[in-house]
Subunit: 336 residues, 3 copies
């Protein structure tokens, strides 16, 4: 990594300096691993006790934390965002080589911008449009008529279904499947009849979609992610779901069909969200909760149960089964 | 889309007409989006209030609903199944081009029916048989000795393991992995020893398997899906599981090893089903439930907990921990 | 399969013989399916009642079980491990052909050992090293600088990210994604800012990783699996997680960021493990539990709730909502 003085970083990212502006950093490290030439950060006051042993050449801190740290610091109200920006500067990703790899297959009726990069073993079907600066990593499949916007990147082994529309600066991780059929079935004389899934998927600008996440195409209309939606790995988004801008959803969450999730929501890991619900803006759902009703008020919701020693948990389970009986006993006592 | 008169549709699908038989529809739309040239449907009486504002050229309805709708209608006891059939007619899928794509690799000892379509970047190993009219989409891998039945379709990037047998008219969505090893381990002097997984997977006719779903091969005998089993996305089926005909399983369900699930069961999203269980026919399991005991009676079962405002839920969690104590207090009171 | 006498097997695997040492077995089968030329095993006393009807030519049993079985037996303290070894002998896997398949693409700056096998449609980038005897199955993607150790095997369609290090004798099943970006986001003026994920993933020797499992790269340092860690299908391992040696994790488990799991732990299916926790050695977590606190004592923990008939479960849910009120009522009664 190249070296930067704190003065350079402070100027570029509009930060205050505490300590020696000429101190140079050439590495990025955690509080515990950082040495004199490394830059670190502290975003969460809960870890402030680690400042005592920290040997970092400089830290990104809030002004509140500076007094607890004797070394050099770059001071900002939002250390985590500043860290993200400086890390992007100091350790930039190498862009893939532009052009179409010799082992890729691109249909003659696909339009690939000359500044786009199509990696090895890809398959890009007729009618696709791949935007300027877009990267399609190794082993991706893009089906007929799909659109990948400018500067978007499919990391590798991503599947994009027919006519799916992906905005600009979207990042999709390996194994994601965008635009498989929704799960639509009609029972007809004892057999399941497949209901054609005629909608598509639209992904807004600046979204990120995690590894092995699946987003189904709509039954009639489209499944939609608005701009800046962030999905972690192994999230399942069923047909006709609409996710509002800036909502972030952690790993292993499943969202059933036709549910609308608002803007700036945060869904923690492994939650299940039922179908045909409306969840308003700024809702937080805690880990491993089950949302079965619409939510109309911003705030935090949950139903996850923390694990306990098994013997204690088994007794609670027994008590759960007795609650009905207890209800009657309690009433009987009160009536006396 | 081509246009059809209601008379044509009624004749082809054996429907009653309400209104103008010569009215033409050339599109398919939701109740709220449909215009005068569109056909819509209403399968769920809960949405009947939408009929008032609906501008559809015609709707598929039950006879009960017709009186609440002033426009044209195609009348049938099962509007959803009729919708599925008419959508299939009006918006048919374009079949892939038959033959083997130039970028695919097919082992000389594989047998591919001349009417089958093998897409770009596929790998088909020795001893495979690909049936008449079958489609293998881009990026699929089919390992030695596997069989794909007539008219079956692997949408793309599907993995089919060694000797897996897939019936006819089976549809498998991207990212699915059929026939990975089951999770068989023996602890031996402090190290895990892999137990060879010698069985395979057999998938019956007319099954559908969702995106990124995994079905492991059996340890000794086979993992089996009977005919017309429908699995949504990200379902995990462990080794030696047997799923009965016509059972439908929603997204993110996990089924542990050697469990037998009956016919016509419906498992809602994100349930966990334990291993070595027997679940009888016609069992419904509600969302995010944990099945840990065999089920011998048809009916509905569950253990999912709907989320509440977090503060309220935290109080309930505290109470759960007090139940043991309450039990004693209740008894003490009663003894007085 | 070739035939083996019990004497041969007993000598090779250091077993005692009960019955006829010259009896030959040429097949491997379950207790219920085994015939006179098959070898079976019984590892779990709970299935001992099946011995009565068993027609196997020989069984692998503990000395305790031998008296309940009138046929031939191979006697060992650990029948399951012995079964694993004998199955490996009698039904060995055919290794893939060494060399690079004509349809694979290998960057000239990758180093592939001449005894390694690179399958069809693979993509191996610059700077990769593929060890002696390693197998890279069809459709795998290995990104720049990644290392695959000797005798390791990627079954097919596996994604290995940049600079990921995989030890020796590691087995990774189809659809697994090792080294996608962790889910790191900083909210900055109402938009999410991606936090670069600069760490990598290190997988120790003898690990096994299931189909469609995802292991994210670390944010700054690496995500680490120590030796002999065993992950089933659809497990999600977030950035900076550390999993200790010999720990086994069943399907559909999600582990949030920066959590440390000890050695010899066993996590049952579909559990959720929160972030920034420390779980000590030899912890067992039962199915579909949520771990939200660090665990400092070995033992069994859980919070999964077994499903009940829906009507009964609904009543329990109602009671849960009343517990706060009950608490007051109970106290009021006691105060009288």
């Amino acid at each position: 990594m190249p070296a930067y003085s704190l003065a350079q970083l402070a100027q570029q990212f509009d930060l205050d300096i505490h300590g020696d502006p000429e101190h140079q950093v050439s590495g990025l490290a955690t509080l515990s691993a950082a040495g004199p030439s490394d830059l670190g950060f502290l975003a969460n006051a809960a870890y402030a006790r680690q400042l005592g042993d920290c040997r970092a050449g400089a830290l990104i801190l809030t002004s509140n934390m500076v007094e607890r740290w004797s070394g050099n610091a770059l001071v900002t109200p939002n250390p985590y965002a500043t860290w993200a920006r400086i890390a992007g500067l100091m350790k930039p990703r190498t862009a893939a080589a532009t052009g179409i790899h010799e082992s890729a297959w691109v249909d003659p009726d696909a339009v690939v911008d000359p500044t786009a990069a199509i990696g090895p073993q890809c398959s890009i079907a007729a009618g696709c449009r791949i935007g300027a600066g877009a990267e399609v990593g190794p082993g991706c499949v893009i089906e007929p008529g799909a659109i990948l916007g400018d500067q978007s990147r499919l990391v590798g082994r991503v599947f994009i279904g027919e006519n799916v529309q992906i905005g600009e600066r979207v990042l999709i991780h390996p194994g994601a499947v965008i635009g498989a059929d929704g799960f639509g079935l009609a029972l007809d004389k004892g057999h399941w009849l497949k209901v054609p899934q005629m909608g598509s998927v639209r992904i807004g600008n600046d979204c990120e979609i995690g590894a092995n996440t699946t987003i189904d195409r709509g039954a009639i209309e489209d499944t939609v992610l608005d701009e800046d939606v962030r999905l972690d790995n192994q999230v399942q988004v069923a047909h006709n779901v609409h996710i509002g801008a800036h909502t972030a959803i952690a790993g292993c969450v499943g969202i059933a069909g036709s549910t609308r999730i608002g803007r700036y929501c945060m869904i923690a890991g492994a939650c299940g969200i039922g179908g045909h619900l409306t969840i308003c803006d700024q809702v937080i759902v805690t880990a491993m909760s089950t949302v079965l009703d619409s939510i109309e008020e911003p705030g935090e919701y949950g139903s996850g149960i923390p694990a306990r020693p098994h013997a204690r948990w088994k007794r609670i389970l027994v008590r759960l089964g007795q609650l009905d009986d207890w209800s009657r006993r309690l009433r009987r006592i009160e009536n006396k």
